[in-house]
Each structure stands twice: as C-alpha cells, then as structure tokens.
C-alpha cells in the first residue's frame, strides 16, 4: 500500500529561487568565474595542448633563428634590426604567431560545446548568456598568455648559447607590456574565430579559414624582416597590416626604441593600442552579436 502524497526524501522544494539569486553584475561575475574555472580545469587536464603548442614556436625559434642569424649582421641591415640578433628580433614574431594560431581553439571549442549538447545544457540554466562567452574567452586568453610566456623563456634559454645573448631592454615590465599587446591581438583573433565558428558551425571550415588568413598576415608585415628590407609594394601592404603595428610595438618594448622605424617606444605603443583596440571592438562586437543570435 502506498500513501498517496508521500514523497521520497530526494523530492521536494526547488533548490533555486530567482529572489535569492544574485542580480546584474555580481551574477555575471560569479557565472563567468564558474565557466572560467571550467576552462582552466580542462586546460590542466589536456597537457598535450600546452605541450604541442610549445613545439611549434620552438621549431620556429630554432630553425628561423638559425636560418636568418647572419642577416642581422650584414653591413647595411644591422641598423634595421636595431642592433640585436635575429633570434631576439624574431621572439615577438613567434609570440604573435602563437596567438594567431592559438585563437583558432576558441572557435573550435564553441563548436564542440554545441555538438556535444553541453551548450544547450548551460542555456537551460538561468546563466547570463554573456558569461558563457566571457568565461571561454578569458580561459583562452589565459592559455595563450601561458604560451607566449613560454616563448619568451625559450627565447632567453636559446639565447644563452649565442653571442650576443638575448636580453630584453625594459626587463620584466617590457616583457609584460609586450605580452599585453600580443594578448590584445589574441582578443581580436578570438572574436574573429568565434564569429567564424558560430557562422560555419564546422570545425574543419573554422580551422581552414582561420589558418588560411594567418600566414599571409604574418608574411606581409614586419614580422619576418624589418619593414625597410621588404620590397616597396610589400612595404605598402605591411603598413596597412595591423600585425606590423603589433610587432613593432612589441619589438620596442622588448628590444628597445632602436628596434622600430620611429625609434620611439611610446609612439609605437600608442599606434598599436589605438589600432588593436579599434579592431578588437569590431571583432568582439561581431562575435557577441553572432553569439546572442545563436543562443537567443
């Protein structure tokens, strides 16, 4: 015989009430934190991502650093390189390259969450939709910050075996600022990749289109060679390429004012900030709109 209204101990009142939930910004912050921690846990449990994202910059630094090592000492070129070794000249390039390729992960991660049904699961909770985007972007920026920090350390380590050794003009502050510029670029690319991913809903397409753009962006900039050593038509392209401004600012911050065309770190930094902030506003707006559309 069953009593009609008797309920098992697991049943009962809802554990959640709208009145007791935080509201507005505190709610957004707490949910963003929850989802950010999720990203960090995932990162710490897939060390292969970190390890493999290190191998590529290592190869670039060693091979390119060696291949072009004598260019920087050619009689007419030394000045253009700011008097540093090609390896040191090349460190900011590899940093930026790491974020250009690394940002593709953000978009792909979104597709994985859609396909697995995890996104739908999140969306059935009262979570602020923006927290889903923010948690992921902050998680990816953290991953890329780790990657570029390691690039700097690898550059320093390899630099010990050559003369002159690699040393950074403004010390730790310069490194931090250069990382900041690289992460700002990462934000632009993350916005772009999230937009791409949510538009195509396809992992392969996102990787393909994303990576297709990266190499031309890098090669038509001051990333590989000082801009003055490029052919004239390419100099013009490079001046319209935001990568040039990011790289020049990072070079100033790492290698000193002599490393850039203006010989002025403040000018290089200001130019980069204006351009990169404007661009990140554009791509993040597109990404956010596309995301709102997706989850609406």
């Amino acid at each position: 015989m069953e009593a009609t209204q008797e309920r098992a101990p697991a049943a009962g009142e809802s554990l959640v009430s709208v009145d007791k939930m935080p509201r507005g910004l505190p709610k957004l912050a707490s949910e963003t934190w929850t989802l950010y921690v999720r990203q960090l846990k995932r990162l710490s449990r897939t060390p292969t991502i970190v390890v493999f994202s290190l191998i590529q910059p290592l190869i670039w630094l060693v091979l390119f650093g060696q291949m072009f090592s004598r260019i920087a000492h050619l009689p007419n070129a030394a000045q253009q390189f700011g008097g540093v070794s090609y390896l040191q000249f090349f460190v900011p390039t590899v940093m930026l390259q790491s974020v250009l390729f690394g940002a593709g992960q953000s978009g792909v991660g979104f597709i994985a969450d859609i396909d697995s049904g995890f996104l739908d699961k999140l969306l059935t909770t009262p979570v602020n939709r923006l927290a889903i985007l923010l948690g992921r972007v902050l998680g990816d920026l953290t991953r890329m910050a780790l990657q570029i920090l390691l690039v700097v350390l690898i550059g320093l380590a390899i630099g010990r075996f050559q003369t002159p050794t690699v040393s950074f003009y403004y010390g730790v502050a310069g490194i931090a600022a250069a990382m900041g510029i690289a992460l700002l670029f990462a934000l632009i690319m993350t916005g772009f990749n999230v937009f791409l991913a949510l538009t195509t809903r396809n992992t392969e397409a996102t990787f393909l289109i994303g990576n297709f753009l990266v190499l031309p962006l890098l090669f038509t900039s001051s990333a590989q060679l000082p801009i003055a050593l490029l052919p004239v038509w390419m100099q013009n392209v490079a001046r319209a390429n935001p990568v040039t401004y990011a790289i020049d600012a990072m070079r100033s911050l790492l290698n000193g004012p002599a490393a850039t065309p203006h010989h002025n770190t403040a000018v290089a930094l200001l130019q980069a900030l204006v351009i990169l902030l404007a661009l990140s506003a554009v791509t993040l707006t597109f990404a956010t709109r596309k995301f709102r559309n997706t989850v609406a």
């Binding site: 554990l15 709208v18 049904g117 699961k121 059935t124 979570v127 809903r201």
Partner: protein, 348 residues
C-alpha cells in the same frame, strides 16, 4: 491551479522556411508522465526547445507553470530540468565537477549543493566513479550523469528529448527504471519525446502522436491502441498463389459479419481478422474454417502496438532508425552548409 504545461496553437517556422511545428495544442497536469511520440523530424525537438526557452515560437502560446516561457524565461529556467539525446556532459571534468558546475550556475548555496550532488550520485549509481573524468565513463554512465545534472536544482518539471537514443537495450532499461522512479515515487512531472514505440508505451501515462508538425492523436497508450478495435489474428494458408488466394477469399466470406470478428481484411499474403478479444475469437475462427474444410497453415495472434496506431493515422510506419541532426544546424547560415551533413527534416 494552471496545468504544468499549457501549449496553445504553437507554430514554428525556421528561417529556411521549413515548418517544424504547425499549430499544436496540449496540456500536461502535475505528476503526469507525458510523451510526444513521432518519427525524427516530426517537430518533437522543436517543441521541447521552445518549452525549455531555447527557441522562440513563430506563433501561439507556450506556458510552463502558468508563465509564458519567453516573457518569463529566467523564472521558467529555475523550475525545469533538461536532458537530451546529446549527452551534455563535459568529458574533461569529473562526474562530480559536472554536477557542481551545473549547480553553481543555479546559484545553489555551496553546502546544499554538495549534499545534493552526493545524493544524486547515489541516485544514479555513480558514487564510486564520481571523481573520475566523464570521458572515461561508458555510454550508459554518461547518460546517467547527464540525467543527474538535469536534476541538480530539484526541478518541478523534467524535459527529456529522446533520452535513450543511442543506448543499448540494457542501459535503456536502466534509464527507464530511473525515470519511472522519479515520476512515481517523487511525483516529478516529466515530458518526454521519443521515436521508440516501446519507450512511449512503457513510460508514458498519456501521449500525443506527432507527425509533420501536427498532433494526430492523443490519449493513454491503452486507449490509443483500443481505438484500433482489438487484437489482430493473422491467418495464412498452404498451396500455390492461386490456391491460397482462393482460400483467403473463401475464408473472408465465411468470417465476415460474425460477432467475434470486428473486421476482416486480405492483405495479399495473409488474412487479417480484427477481434475485440483475440483469445476468444481464435477457437471460433478455427471452428468455422474447419467446418468449411479450409486448413490453416500458420496463425498468429498479436495485440496492437503504437506502431499500428501510427500506421492507422498516417498510413506509414514510424522510422525508428532515421538519422538525427543537431537541431542548431537547422538555423545555420546558408554558406558553407555542405559540411554540416544532410537534412533530416522531411519536406511536406
């Protein structure tokens, strides 16, 4: 008290023009186990996505606990739980972390949440594996974890979209008994969609059969089957094609109009007799045929299934094995569509 779910003239047309839901109305009362049975592409998932606040309807009303699901989305979300055929579990997190994450997004107070997580891990028999990454779980375990995450905040209404698709029969039966427990012992109202006849038959107290975006029949599984007029007796005869044809025609003449046979139909290979009570009709059918010296070669007695109900209303059988597509890709932008796979939705 308003019904738990109240849907009136609901319609959904996707931007690509496909009409997934074409004006359906139904309601679900507290404590019911209600099901949507229909083939893939019938509009089941679309309806559920509207009810769980993930999709805006084109027209009509959808209310949950008396509140409009669009206008009162946040409130609705605190009251409902959801589990789908795609297992919404993060494989890199442990079972416990998945539950804690979901609970944190409901802002459940940490101590209460920890207790609730343990309680649910016990409920779905995952306590021994709670601290292993979900990626190492079997399909059945991941499904159980997914179900548990949908229950973390003690929802008052649980939505299940094809909850056992892709599971083997043993795991399917396991999930069924959890669901029956939740409904019967805890009084949880459950709305389920399925294209598995057996699942609808076993779990649902009441169901609606849906096809091409319309509800074509509804009622308890027993009453729907009863509408078919009873059991089916299938008779076949021995001999060449002409001989069996002749025997079927004669047998049909003899059985037609008898009190025990509600309907007699020759389907081209068998004679199908519909009988209100198949067990009682059987000896009488045989006696009539025996007296006329028509000898039955083979005979089966079957109770009608929901598939027969579906057949009656649509003229076709439910396709249990049709491919299913992620619903979000339905709304994908036009370009680069080719990579996303074919479309499961049938055109009218």
């Amino acid at each position: 008290m308003p019904p738990v779910i109240d849907v009136v003239d609901l319609e959904k047309t996707y931007p690509d023009g496909s009409q997934a839901v074409r004006g359906i109305s139904f309601s679900v009362e507290e404590g019911e186990f209600f099901g949507f049975l229909g083939p893939n592409g019938a509009g089941k998932s679309t309806t559920i996505k509207i009810l769980i606040t993930l999709l805006a309807p084109t027209a009509g009303q959808a209310r949950v606990f008396g509140r409009d699901v669009r206008a009162d989305a946040t409130q609705t979300r605190t009251l409902i739980g959801y589990a789908a055929q795609e297992v919404g579990v993060d494989d890199d997190l442990t079972g416990r972390e998945n539950l804690m994450l979901q609970g944190a997004l409901y802002h459940i107070e940490p101590r209460t949440l920890r207790r609730r997580v343990n309680e649910l891990l016990e409920l779905v028999d995952l306590a021994p594996d709670a601290d292993r990454q979900a990626g190492s779980y079997s399909g059945g375990m991941r499904k159980r974890l997914d179900l548990a995450t949908g229950l973390i905040h003690r929802p008052q209404l649980l939505f299940l979209d094809e909850p056992t698709t892709g599971l083997d029969p043993q795991n399917r039966a396991g999930i069924w008994s959890y669901l029956e427990d939740l409904n019967r012992r805890e009084g949880l109202t459950i709305f389920l969609t399925t294209h598995y006849l057996e699942e609808a038959d076993r779990l649902c107290g009441r169901l609606a059969i849906i096809d091409h975006g319309r509800i074509i029949a509804s009622g308890s599984p027993a009453s729907l089957k009863a509408e078919l007029g009873g059991d089916l007796v299938r008779l076949s005869f021995r001999g060449s094609d002409e001989e069996t044809h002749a025997q079927r025609s004669r047998a049909a003449e003899l059985l037609e109009g008898r009190a025990f046979a509600a309907a007699v139909r020759d389907d081209g290979s068998e004679l199908v007799v519909t009988a209100r009570e198949g067990g009682r009709a059987l000896p009488q059918i045989l006696r009539v045929l025996d007296e006329a010296q028509i000898y039955v070669d083979d005979l089966t007695l079957t109770s009608p299934t929901l598939d027969d109900v579906f057949l009656k209303y649509t003229g076709e059988r439910i396709r249990e094995d049709a491919p299913v597509q992620n619903w979000r890709n339905q709304r994908m932008a036009g370009f680069l569509r080719a990579g996303a796979g074919g479309r499961a939705r049938r055109r009218p």
